[in-house]
């Protein structure tokens, strides 16, 4: 693009500053509220005595289970991310390598698209009956399995784009040198699509960490994840504003870390396919 100069540049900076304020403002305001005493929140004070009481309360008090919820979220997001990377990259490679123009692949990817467009709540009902009949209702395993499934479409799309970018000559050279199909995939292709794995891994982790609709209905108290715990603070007879603010701030920590350290991969993952 053509960079602005002179007065236009200052107006541009002004607009951009406003946009950034619009994005950061709410988060900063909630952070301020999370370090206020309840009384300061209710008076809407701007000058107040900071405190860590709300954090201590949500993390360590008897009424709250947040440490346990954090652990659950971490286990579910971690396991489902690793699994979706394995399942998704194998599947995408199969489509890319052997089924590219076959009816089977078209049906598969068509179904993946439909599945991605269906509101997840439509499937939570059958999932509930399914896991109940298997005795998996209210287990972390059920949550892991469903999170793998909902993150599969995105992972397959991202990995397909990356597989398509690998030059065919590399694969042919490996075959001529005596590499079998699996060895070629492991030693030649996978290292080349590393950035794709990082992109889909980060996004799968974040989406699983954030997922609410399934966790709300397939878990009970001891398997609840962080979003479910936050919702509980907001839904109790008396809304616990201070606890809500503090637990929200804790819940966004992984997102903040990934934003700072993985932004290149996140941007690439979110815009893959859209730009071309």
């Amino acid at each position: 693009m053509i960079p602005l100069h002179g007065r236009a540049a200052w107006i541009g900076y002004g607009v951009v500053a406003l946009a950034i304020l619009f994005i950061v403002g709410p988060t900063a305001w909630i952070f301020l509220n999370s370090i206020k005493y309840q009384i300061a929140i209710y008076s809407g004070a701007w000058v107040f005595e900071p405190t860590l009481d709300n954090y201590i309360d949500v993390l360590f008090s008897r009424r709250s289970d947040l440490v346990h919820n954090l652990w659950n979220s971490f286990v579910v997001a971690g396991l489902s991310t690793v699994a979706v990377l394995v399942v998704g990259s194998l599947g995408a490679y199969g489509v890319h390598r052997w089924f590219r123009s076959r009816l089977f692949a078209k049906l598969l990817m068509g179904w993946v698209l439909i599945f991605h467009m269906i509101p997840v709540i439509t499937l939570v009902g059958p999932w509930y009956l399914f896991f109940q009949s298997l005795g998996l209702y209210n287990t972390l395993l059920a949550l892991v399995l469903t999170h793998i499934t909902i993150n599969l479409p995105m992972t397959m799309w991202i990995m397909l784009t990356y597989f398509n970018e690998v030059p065919t000559e590399l694969r042919e050279a490996a075959t001529i040198d005596g590499c079998g199909d699996f060895t070629t995939f492991r030693r030649i292709i996978l290292p080349l699509v590393g950035p794709g794995l990082v992109s889909s891994g980060i996004l799968s982790f974040v989406f699983s960490w954030n997922e609410f609709a399934i966790a709300l209905n397939l878990t009970a108290r001891d398997t609840a994840t962080v979003p479910v715990a936050i919702a509980r603070f907001a839904q109790q007879f008396e809304i616990q504003h201070a606890q809500m603010a503090a637990s929200s701030m804790i819940a966004i920590v992984p997102a903040l870390l990934l934003m700072v350290f993985g932004q290149r991969f996140i941007v690439r993952g979110l815009t893959t396919g859209a730009v071309k």
């Binding site: 693009m1 951009v16 997840v120 499934t149 954030n210 997102a255 700072v260 932004q263």
Partner: protein, 297 residues
């Protein structure tokens, strides 16, 4: 060689895990919706009891007064939030792309809302919208107006929910448009400037037409996700006051898990899926028609 067996069979099993997940956890549940939709399902301590009752569920579907509100609310929500996000996202992308410095910093900050848990966003904005001490009413007070009951007033609730969605997803539109603005052909822009095009002419005659596909993709992606919206709205209003923010997902959740009507919920789910598939088919068909017309010229 150790990998010999894997090598020989790789092409046969590489798809299996992914097929297994899709078949067991997406195809099977959708098929399972059919018998569910024809039954009344009671869950008691002793087990799950199914009674065949297709008429009852159909009657419930046709007589569901809330459903009509939910459809209207969902349409208003999708159209309004996607439209606002497209406009704001486009101008944010344009201005940030024109900045001589600091583009990377701006982009990093802008992706923040996309990554946050929607539930945390919901609870953050619930505080912001609070009648007594929320940031919005503090600002309204500074201007000298009466405080507004953002989430509790039927006239404002849906708009408030849209505002939150705009905060959450404008950055996504920005990201997609920013990525394609960065790859616009420099010589065309330069030519436009040399020929003395005004800023407005540059935007409407050069940039917007070149961005056509990216705009379509951004709008499509956003419409899909907006249609599925659930988390924040559940936190903010749970569909209230009355039915003023009841979206399809919320209504479905209520039918399934608050009224425990698994049968009728399945009927409703099948209807929604059928509408989505029909929309996709029509969209694909009209796209191919347009393509054929273009080829014919």
């Amino acid at each position: 060689m150790k990998d010999d067996f894997l090598n020989r069979t790789f092409r046969h099993w590489s798809m299996w895990p992914c097929l297994a997940f899709l078949l067991v956890l997406s195809v099977y549940p959708v098929l399972q919706l059919v018998p569910m939709a024809l039954s009344t399902i009671k869950i008691t301590g002793e087990g799950t009891f199914w009674t065949y009752s297709p008429r009852r569920n159909l009657d419930l579907l046709l007589g569901d007064a809330v459903l009509r509100d939910a459809v209207v609310n969902t349409l208003v929500f999708v159209v309004l939030s996607v439209a606002i996000e497209m406009v704001l996202g486009f101008f944010a992308a344009l201005f940030i792309a024109c900045m001589p410095r600091g583009r990377n910093f701006a982009r990093t900050v802008m992706i923040l809302p996309i990554l946050l848990p929607a539930v945390a966003i919901g609870s953050m904005w619930k505080l912001m919208f609070n009648y007594d001490f929320g940031l919005f009413n503090q600002m309204v007070g500074v201007i000298g107006l009466d405080p507004i009951n953002w989430l509790g007033d039927t006239r404002w609730a849906l708009l408030s929910v849209v505002i939150v969605d705009v905060w959450h997803w404008t950055p996504f539109v920005f990201l997609i448009l920013f990525a394609s603005i960065e790859t616009l052909p420099q010589d065309v822009l330069e030519a436009g400037r040399v020929d003395g095009a005004t800023a407005w002419q540059m935007i409407s005659l050069i940039i917007l037409p070149l961005l056509g596909p990216a705009l379509a993709v951004a709008a499509l992606f956003r419409a899909i996700v907006a249609f599925k919206a659930f988390d924040q709205v559940y936190l903010l209003t749970s569909g209230g006051p009355g039915t003023s923010t009841e979206l399809l997902s919320l209504h479905l959740n209520r039918v399934f898990f608050e009224q425990n009507q698994l049968g009728y919920g399945a009927m409703l789910s099948l209807t929604i899926i059928a509408v989505i598939v029909a929309t996709l088919a029509v969209g694909k068909w009209s796209a191919s028609q347009i393509e054929r017309k273009r080829m014919g010229q």
